[in-house]
Amino acid sequence: MEVTFEFDWAAALGSIPHLLPGIPYTLLISFGGLAIGFVIGIIFGLLRISPLHWLRLPAGLYIEVFRGTPVLVQVLFIFYGLPQLLGGPINALVAGIAAIAVNSGAYISEIVRGGVESIERGQREAGLSLGLSRTQAFRYIIWPQALRRMIPPLGNQAIISIKDTSLFSVIGVGELVRQGQVYIATTFTALEVYLMVALLYLAITWSLSLVLRTLERKGLVGQ
């Protein structure tokens, strides 16, 4: 039996208004999580290069644990597991943001460490030789340069985290994939809808790439 299939453009385009409500959730989970992840990353990344090993150790442990386990397991643990400890349910949106935060935080810690360690020793020495304290040398000389070098890997991580949020349909948070699934359940147009879902992700990640490339180009001045 010959199967013919017509791609239903009307169904594809018609699904878009039903998918769009997912975008704010996707963006909120991604960028909310990444913002917290960035703070975590700065803290743990710097602890990781501390001269004190009792500070390095817990930072290393955190990074290993959250880099070494799947983000899907992390969000399931937070959404279904933690309520058993806390004695009350956790909002799915909060669980999603928390999962992206701890997961991206682990990766960003390594990005921060790498960025800071990549700055030549002479930069710090020049700062110290001028009488700057170690903190001042870090704040005014090392960190601004490290931050610039961190832009490409941070952009990478942002794109990865945005895509990771697609997994959170499993906890019922109304992000893009979830909206698609709900819509498909009534129309059975999986091909068209998932293609649109994919294109919407691409639109988000692509816009981000453009912004990052502009940032990078600006950052090149003086390097």
Partner: protein, 256 residues
Amino acid sequence: MNHSNSNSSKPIVRMDKVNKYFGSLHVLQDIDLEIVPGEVVVIIGASGSGKSTLIRCVNGLEEFQQGHIEVDGNELLPHGKSGRALQTIRTEVGMVFQQFNLFPHLSVRDNVTLAPIKVRQLDRDRATEIANKLLERVGISDQADKYPSQLSGGQQQRVALARALAMEPRLMLFDEPTSALDPEMIGEVLDAMRELANEGMTMIIVTHEMGFAREVADRVIYIHGGQIVEQGSPLEVFDNPQNERTQNFLSRVLKH
């Protein structure tokens, strides 16, 4: 900046039996050294002889294990246990590095004003005024708004000199300031250093520029294997070296 020889009896730098090890390597051995204000001391020696390490000990970029160092009345202790004295010394001792080490994310002017603003607590206008004067003095005033990467090596090193001078140091350390420069740019950096020496700045210079050493130094020190082997006026060391190792070294570097 004008510490003439009036108080030359009291040394600004005193190193007393300083010993430093890198692991089992004994890189500085019983270094005794006194430098008086206004003196220009040039340290020569083969690479790996410990000459850079020696001047890096003076402003605490390197720790040492035994002995003690006094810089303008502030004492550096072994194993980096100097506390506040270290930072005091660093505000009074300027340094110029082989690789310039300018801050690439800051404009030339901001390179010069950073430390006066953050360390000396000068307001930005005053710091900028000082920076402009110093940049003019080293011939870079028209490049003040550029970034270091837009400058030639010679220009960068002159900016580095201005940056160090902005802290109004009582002593300047130069760690092979021309070794990373293209030959045609060495002269402009040496000129700036010569001018500084003529103004009476106390300077400790590690260099391979023997002609410059002969012309500018009050005293030349030859270091070999972490020890001061010979020292004296340029005339004594260059034209009549007493030690065989000094003679060997000079015969290799001086191509008469």
